[in-house]
């Protein structure tokens, strides 16, 4: 009797393990519109209202913890921020004076128009779910196909780029964050600097890595990165519109034994604490 139990237990375990391996194998080999992904989207679409309701119900608890967290951090940062505000005010005055002198203020409006963001329709959404591991960085938002959202739409906050839409159901969407291991964003240093590819660093969600494509120009600490938003003559275009702020270079480690220079970037957006995001819909990014 006991041996029969053991045999049955082992058989169930083997069946489950084989099922897992088959799921992994099919998921990796099939296209995004394959049957497994369709089933996954179907289940997600059915469960989304429940998840959305649960997320709304749990919001007060999250807000309470955020409040404690922010209060704790604010105590330490208060003095530091006061110093930074004074410093930035001085810099701002200097920059405004310089911009006026160079007629830069007028050019700024043209630059915003030229970035192409005027052609996108922003859709605000709330984060209702998040992945639990640094190996897979994504969030689920409460806006989907019915709101005009498509796959590959760019997602931003008021601070900068956070990711792109990777899956859409009727009322929700999944956003793969720029810190995810599969993410890659073509970027350039603002002001005509070198271009490169920004990717996430697994295990360190507060940091991005810049791989330089055009290494002729130097990248230095404090450089600000924006999306490159390129379009080739052959019609190939970046998934992200141009000139969306990404982050700031915080450390450059020169290439010695490494094959390439290592450039560490701190994202402008606080990717660890996302509550409201904006999806740029309607662009030519499909």
């Amino acid at each position: 009797m006991y041996r029969k139990q053991v045999r049955r237990r082992r058989a169930i375990l083997v069946v489950l393990v084989v099922a897992c391996l088959m799921l992994i194998s099919i998921s990796i080999s099939e296209a995004d519109d394959g049957p497994l992904h369709s089933i996954q989207r179907g289940v997600s679409s059915v469960l989304s209202p429940v998840g959305e309701g649960a997320s709304r119900a749990l919001k007060p608890a999250r807000d309470l913890i955020d409040w404690f967290d922010e209060t704790w951090e604010a105590r330490g940062e208060n003095g530091e921020l006061r110093g930074q505000v004074a410093e930035l005010r001085t810099e701002l005055l200097a920059a405004e004076t310089a911009a006026e002198r160079a007629g830069y203020a007028d050019e700024l409006g043209e630059l915003i128009d030229a970035s192409g963001l005027g052609g996108y329709e922003p859709v605000d959404a709330t984060v209702i779910g998040r992945s639990f591991s640094v190996w897979y960085e994504s969030v689920r938002i409460d806006a989907g196909g019915s709101d005009g959202i498509d796959r590959n739409d760019s997602v931003i906050t008021e601070d900068g780029l956070i990711g792109r839409v990777s899956q859409v159901t009727g009322g929700t969407s999944e956003v793969t964050l720029i810190t995810d291991s599969s993410s890659a964003v073509t970027a350039r240093v603002a002001g005509g600097g070198p271009e490169g590819l920004v990717s996430g660093v697994v295990g360190d969600p507060g940091r991005l890595d810049l791989s330089l494509i055009q290494g002729a120009k130097e990248v230095k600490d404090g450089d600000r990165l924006v999306t490159a938003g390129f379009t080739t003559e052959g019609g190939l275009s970046s998934r992200f519109p141009g000139d969306i702020p990404i982050g700031e270079v915080v450390e450059t480690i020169p290439a010695e034994q490494e094959q390439r220079e290592q450039v560490n970037v701190e994202p402008f957006a606080d990717l660890a604490d996302l509550t409201t995001v904006t999806v740029l819909t309607g662009g030519d990014d499909g």
């Binding site: 139990q5 897992c20 994504s138 697994v202």
Partner: protein, 197 residues
């Protein structure tokens, strides 16, 4: 554990509630550079109370559900959680829970193991981005937070599935001990129930 249709509904609700709490709350509250992971904690509790098969099946179902909710590669989370649930059940079938510290400590260890398996599988499937050593922080932090989460979660899960437990101390304290090592029967088998805890 004797699994009746009613108990099956309770188990499904436990798994669903755990996934909703994880995705809607715990994953959105950063702690010590990572987040708490409730899923292995619940799966380990079910394994400790129901045995190896219950733990493995709960891990498999929980993994599939969370992948559907948040869009991970189907099967990866299931494998990691299945390992945690199965090993918890094997522990329960081989040893008595002689101290109230055993469930939280075992949960912490198996939560860390699940995070490690998830990381290993992710690496095996191919990661193009650079990997920081800080990725190991997730294993440690989730393990430590697993210990803390298990303190309220294990008794709560036990209370919910109590009617299915063969030797629940709330019903018969005399039943706890060597006698509850007998192999069982039932839908998933009548496994060893909660012992002297």
């Amino acid at each position: 554990m004797i699994v009746t249709p009613l108990i099956l509904v309770r188990l499904a609700l436990i798994v669903l509630a755990a996934v909703l709490l994880q995705v809607g709350f715990f994953s959105q509250v950063p702690l010590l550079g990572s987040v708490a992971n409730l899923l292995p904690v619940v799966v380990v509790a079910l394994g400790l109370l129901g045995g190896a098969v219950s733990g493995a099946v709960a891990g498999f179902a929980t993994g599939l559900l969370v992948d559907a909710m948040i869009g991970g590669t189907p099967g990866v989370a299931s494998l990691a959680l299945m390992a945690a649930g199965y090993l918890a059940g094997r522990w329960r079938e081989g040893y008595d829970i002689v101290s109230s510290l055993v469930p939280p400590l075992l949960t912490g260890a198996l939560t860390a193991l699940a995070a490690l398996i998830y990381a290993a599988l992710s690496l095996t499937l191919g990661i193009e981005a650079p990997v920081s050593v800080l990725a190991l922080r997730e294993v440690v932090v989730q393990g430590l937070l697993g210990v803390l989460l298990a303190i309220p979660v294990f008794p709560l899960v036990r209370r919910i599935v109590r009617p299915a437990l063969v030797d629940d101390p709330g019903h018969s304290r005399a039943g706890a001990g060597a006698g509850d090592r007998a192999p069982g029967r039932g839908t998933f088998g009548m496994m060893r129930g909660q012992g002297s805890h």
